[in-house]
């Protein structure tokens, strides 16, 4: 079932950014003039490799199995830690959005990051490489290695380039996510010793884990991935991290880091522990629904636009959780698609909040007035971005959310009540737009607007959203084979009822 190519595509996807990032301090020791060009070049190369590999999966229709498999190469003797990488219909869209967002974040950093650029850009690439590792590693321990490696650049991003309470936010972020990951590691070790022959490789252990351990592992994974996603009891690090992080880093946080949690739930809870997940799916769905409503309702009262968007993310991640645990093709495909569209939509909103702060000196919704007069381009993009985040049907975020809702209703009609969440979302976004964009301007507002280049860079966020609305098969043809396999497995475990 493993499609093999001799060319190590995935290793290049992981190693290129990391090595390029480590080279930055050596290359740009004295002059930082061309650092941005270098960064864009590397990100473009990475993007082309991603397009190539994604295109191969798309044209082969091989999203249901692992592509470009490398290894297993032994890393730690007989102790089961192998380098084993592969890309399937779950990894594909996430790898794709990683490459796209990295490029866009580098564009955005041009305007918004001024000091310690050498460290900043090398950390950007370390982050990108580690995220690539998270989405492609099929050995649980190496997955964990990359999972933790992501924390270090993000810790520095928040702690060095952040806002007034950056140190507090950075520590809180690191501790929350690290504590979560420790429980995940325990589950990995328990699983390793429960299967025979002992193995950390996901393809080798699928379907071998006894039910009792599946239930224990479900709880441990729930803590690990739930902190990252985040689900409601573990979400409190997220608003702090978002508010303090600089805008481009918020894009990474919401666009990629949260997706690690969604990826984990799908790959491990649904993929490895289908029995326990099927039996206790209602708990996860319930938590997902609470997360959705909590995020949406708390977002209404926020006055900081960035905090509002952060809580929108929490709400949207609830959809990912619900979609995954419906265990239907619609639900699983919808939640992967949702991760893809949410990354682009919320990424744009966070970048705009950064520019808004630059233009007006504040992010307070009640203070900013008449943006359509003072910064027409920014205002237009803010409206478009809000439409994407509201899941209005001119962007593909609509399709993804719709798919999750359909999947949920398939399971139980009572879940139809989650339709209320998009309604609330529309409500607070429109209220925000009315206050910020559509209001009368203050008398002495100075005009400031986006440069041409920045405008183009920001419009680029919308391209994938429009493109996948017109041609949703670009994503779904990769994801659906994957969801078919996982959903069939899941149905089997829940006793065949559908």
């Amino acid at each position: 079932m493993l499609v093999d190519v001799s060319f190590p595509l995935i290793s290049i996807l992981i190693a290129l950014p990391i090595l390029a990032g480590l080279a930055i301090p050596l290359l740009f020791k004295n002059s930082q003039k061309y650092i941005i060009h270098y960064a864009i070049l590397i990100a473009l190369i990475e993007l082309f490799i991603t397009f190539y590999s994604y295109g191969l999966i798309l044209s082969n229709g091989s999203g249901g199995e692992y592509n470009f498999v490398e290894g297993p190469v032994k890393i730690l003797g007989n102790f089961g830690i192998d380098y084993l990488a592969g890309m399937d219909g779950l990894s594909g869209p996430l790898v794709l959005i990683t490459s796209i967002l990295t490029l866009l974040v580098i564009f955005g950093s041009r305007d918004l990051i001024e000091d310690r650029k050498v460290l900043y850009f090398s950390m950007i690439f370390l982050f990108q490489g580690s995220i690539m590792g998270v989405f492609t590693q099929l050995n649980m321990i190496l997955f964990y290695v990359f999972w933790d490696l992501v924390l270090i650049p993000m810790f520095l991003f928040i702690g060095i380039w952040g806002g007034p309470r950056k140190r507090y936010a950075a520590m809180k972020f690191f501790l929350f996510t690290f504590v979560g990951s420790v429980f995940m590691l325990l589950a990995f070790i328990l699983i390793y010793f429960s299967v025979s022959p002992h193995s950390f490789n996901i393809p080798e252990i699928a379907g071998k884990i006894p039910l009792s351990l599946q239930i224990i592992s479900s709880v441990l994974f729930f803590i690990g991935f739930g902190v990252k996603l985040p689900v409601v009891p573990f979400h409190s690090w997220l608003p702090d991290a978002h508010v303090e992080a600089p805008a481009p880093i918020s894009v990474f946080l919401a666009g990629l880091l949260l997706k690690m949690g969604g990826y984990g739930f799908l790959r491990f809870n649904i993929g490895l522990l289908p029995e326990a997940s099927a039996q206790y799916a209602w708990i996860f769905i319930l938590v997902g629904i609470i997360t959705m409503f909590y995020g949406a309702i708390v977002a209404i009262v926020q006055t900081d636009i960035k905090k509002m968007i952060a809580l929108t993310s929490v709400s949207h991640m609830g959809f990912v959780l619900v979609g995954a645990f419906t265990g239907t093709i619609f639900g699983i495909s919808g939640s992967v698609f949702q991760m893809f569209t949410h990354a682009a939509a919320v990424g744009l909103m966070f970048m705009l909040s950064g520019y808004l702060h630059k233009a007006t000196g504040t992010r307070n919704i009640t203070v900013i007035k008449g943006l359509k007069f003072s910064s027409p381009r920014l205002a237009t993009l803010l409206i478009l971005g809000s439409m994407a985040a509201m899941c209005i049907p001119i962007f593909s975020s609509f399709i993804s959310e719709y798919m999750v809702i359909v999947g949920a209703i398939q399971i139980n009609p009572i879940y139809a009540l989650i339709v209320a969440v998009p309604a609330i979302t529309v409500g607070y976004f429109l209220w925000m737009l009315r206050r910020v964009v559509m209001s009368d301007p203050k008398s002495n507002v100075k005009k400031w607007d986006l440069s041409n280049v920045s405008t183009i860079a920001l419009v680029l966020y919308l391209v994938p959203l429009v493109l996948t609305l017109i041609a949703p098969w670009l994503i779904l043809d990769v994801v659906n084979p994957f969801s078919t396999v996982y959903a069939a497995n899941f149905r089997l475990m829940s006793g065949g009822a559908a």
Binding site: V145, D148, G159, L175
Partner: protein
């Protein structure tokens, strides 16, 4: 026929010849003698290191001329390799750290005597030799701890260390004498044989003797409740000496503990294993919780060192159940020695330059001492077990060993402790990289920095290529357990 080598004896002779003669050079060479002493110390340690590497990897055929006293096996070579490497780091950095101290020559001689004691302890298989080695290792460190004789804290460190050290030696000797009374021998192999045919009436005495020996060694292993002296001594001694204590003498103690427990375990492993598991749990938890509240980096590292002893103890707990335990113990001993040495030496350099070990003096340090900060940050991340640094792999194996040995709760405790420990390690990194400072740029001495960079390179390389050390540890474990079936 190929000539065979008795590594322990050769190493002991090499080190002793330098240690004994070096205080005398002053009479012959006058003022220049300091340089000679330093170079000879380094040279002798390097020669020993090469011998031990070749013996660990069994490049040359080995034999022992006194097999009933010093067993020439790879386990001993591996541990003495660790302690000699740390001693080497300590000696080189002492060039800067001890500069201007009136008794510098004797200092190096004492370092070498400690190294001799540690090497002997790593190879010793006779309880009396273990005791002699234990004393030989301890006595010079009492003096070294109080080396800054004008400093009150240094005096306190030495006195506290000496009193508890003397007490622990006494308890150790008491345990040994009871064991001799029961079995009629001090040789571990003979003891092992006579214990198998022991009448059940004698069991309480064996337990008593084991507990006494554990208490005696426990002082060096820095396990709770024998840890009281550690924070004060590490804080008061010259930081290079603290490095030696936490990174080297502790490892030699573990080498000896492995040998003793491998012999005693078959007799009543269940209770002992559980008791040790509880000690491990208490040790790591207390160490980490106490470290959270410290205001001084040396005290923080001291408590962290206690916590790490708790992790290492897991390896002994599961000794009877799984090979992974000993593999993890060996692997983590090496990693912890390097990480702890790097962290302590970096702290020592900061103390040398800012004459403070308070955590406040680390604010914004990355701007004035970039290389030191980087090395310290990496070693702290390694101690915390952040992948892909070497500390992660060995902790992973230790915790896996706990699960494999049926102590899943101990693995959970270890992991939760790891999560706690990240808080205080990270706090130092936060101070160095994110806080502001008023200190002006500091020149980092070249030799000191080279040692730090070299040690950091080991941390990174063994982290990226964990296979090398794992394979060595596995080979050693298999050959050790083949000779000492547990």
């Amino acid at each position: 026929m190929q000539p065979k080598l008795d590594t322990p004896l050769v190493v002991l002779v090499v080190l002793t010849s330098v240690a004994v003669t070096s205080p005398l050079y002053e009479m012959i060479f006058g003022k220049k003698s300091l340089k000679y002493v330093q170079y000879l110390t380094i040279l002798s340690l390097l020669v020993s290191l090469i011998l031990l590497i070749s013996s660990t990897l069994s490049l040359t055929p080995q034999e022992s001329t006194v097999p009933h006293l010093l067993r020439n096996d790879t386990l001993g070579s591996f541990f003495s390799f660790i302690v000699i490497l740390v001693t080497l780091f300590v000696s080189i950095t002492s060039f800067d750290y001890m500069k201007g101290n009136p008794n510098e020559r004797v200092y190096y001689s004492l370092l070498l005597f400690t190294a001799i004691g540690m090497t002997m302890l790593c190879f010793a298989v006779d309880l009396l030799v273990i005791f002699v080695a234990f004393e030989l290792m301890s006595l010079p460190t009492f003096i070294l701890a109080g080396y800054n004789k004008q400093d009150k804290l240094s005096n306190e460190a030495a006195v506290k260390f000496f009193i508890l050290g003397a007490l622990s030696s006494g308890i150790l000797l008491y345990g040994i004498s009871i064991m001799f009374g029961i079995t009629g021998s001090t040789n571990l192999e003979v003891i092992s044989q006579s214990l198998t045919s022991l009448s059940p009436d004698m069991l309480p005495f064996v337990i008593f003797s084991t507990v006494s020996m554990l208490a005696g060694l426990g002082l060096k292993l820095s396990i709770v409740p024998f840890h009281m002296w550690i924070p004060d001594t590490y804080e008061g001694s010259p930081t290079t000496v603290s490095t030696l204590l936490s990174a080297a003498t502790k490892k030699a103690g573990f080498a000896s503990a492995i040998r003793i427990f491998a012999v005693i375990f078959p007799l009543f492993y269940f209770d002992l294993s559980l008791a040790l598991a509880i000690i491990a749990l208490v040790t790591m938890t207390l160490g980490n919780l106490a470290a959270l509240t410290q205001k001084s980096i040396t005290r923080m590292l001291a408590y962290s060192s206690i916590a790490q002893a708790g992790y290492l103890l897991i390896g002994i707990v599961v000794l009877p159940y799984t090979n992974l335990g000993l593999i993890g113990l060996l692997y983590h001993s090496f990693n912890h020695a390097i990480l702890q040495a790097t962290a302590f030496l970096a702290a020592g350099l900061v103390r040398l330059k800012t004459s403070s070990s308070s955590l406040d003096s680390y604010n914004g340090l990355s701007k004035v001492m970039p290389i030191t900060s980087f090395c310290l940050a990496l070693s702290l991340l390694g101690l915390a077990g952040i992948p892909p640094l070497n500390g992660f792999w060995s902790k992973l194996i230790l915790f896996s060993a706990a699960v494999d040995g049926g102590y899943a709760w101990l693995a959970l405790a270890g992991l939760v402790n790891t999560a706690i420990s990240v808080a205080y390690y990270l706090l130092v990194i936060k101070r160095m990289y994110m806080d502001e400072t008023s200190i002006k740029a500091i020149k980092e001495p070249f030799i000191f920095i080279s040692v730090l960079v070299f040690a950091t390179a080991i941390i990174i390389v063994t982290g990226l290529l964990p296979n090398v050390l794992y394979d060595i540890a596995e080979d050693i474990t298999i050959s050790f357990l083949a000779n000492n079936p547990v």
